[in-house]
């Protein structure tokens, strides 16, 4: 199984989490994150990516996480295409011997994904479509990892 996937299809959170530690007696922790489409005034969301570059960017982010923490397995799935409120957008799962590495690597991968992987969101509302602006808070979240752990 590839560590990263960009796909239109939904994923099975339980199966993904189980696979992170299956047949691995050294795994003592699994941390995971699931990102969802928020509802409210957003009726639907369309996610665009840069085929090839996006997958490579995710592979590089996972490699950086492996350099920083003692992690065993990593899985990143990001959906593209049209998604409705409540639907899953992204899954990040990490297994490790001890919980700190899994927690930290999982958060690091999400923070870097949000600022470095080429995905773009367009929201559909009653007023029409609008491209989501990048958030400074996401840049700040990614930059805090550059000062150490």
């Amino acid at each position: 199984m590839n560590a990263v996937a960009v796909q239109e299809a939904d994923f099975d959170v339980g199966a993904e989490i189980a696979a992170l530690s299956a047949s691995d007696a050294e795994a003592g922790a699994v941390a995971s994150f699931v990102g969802l489409v928020r509802g409210g005034e957003v009726a639907a969301m369309t996610l665009e990516h840069y085929p090839g570059m996006t997958e490579q960017a995710l592979v590089e982010i996972v490699a950086q996480a492996r350099e920083r923490w003692e992690v065993r397995r990593v899985r990143v799935i990001h959906r593209v295409g049209k998604l409705l409120p409540g639907e899953r957008i992204v899954f990040v799962g990490v297994s490790s011997a001890h919980r700190h590495d899994a927690f930290a690597a999982c958060e690091f991968i999400m923070d870097y994904l949000k600022t470095r992987a080429p995905f773009w969101k367009k929201e559909q509302t009653a007023a029409g479509g609008r491209w989501v602006d990048a958030r400074e808070s996401d840049d700040a979240a990614a930059q805090r990892w550059q000062g150490g752990q």
Partner: protein
């Protein structure tokens, strides 16, 4: 030839997401290509915080480009 790609709101403003062009005379960097293409695609010049990639690697405006490269222009990313 150069393959030039546009994404998200830039793709919509320009009207298409990819084109193949001859490397313009005197163009050796991403910034020079941006200025040259801007005469045909005004959205390139008005876009805020434009990002670029050469051969699928993020890069700055001073990054060199050569015949055969794939160059992409896009807004800041908003995934996750």
């Amino acid at each position: 030839m150069l393959k030039v790609l546009y994404f998200a709101n830039l793709r919509e403003a320009i009207g298409f997401g990819a084109e193949s062009i001859e490397l313009p005379a005197g163009v050796a960097t991403v910034g020079e290509l941006h200025a040259a293409l801007g005469t045909r695609h005004a959205a390139l010049l008005t876009a805020k915080n434009l990002r670029a990639a050469v051969n699928q690697k993020m890069c700055g405006l001073d990054a060199p480009i050569a015949d055969g490269d794939e160059v992409a222009f896009f807004p800041p990313v908003t995934g996750g």
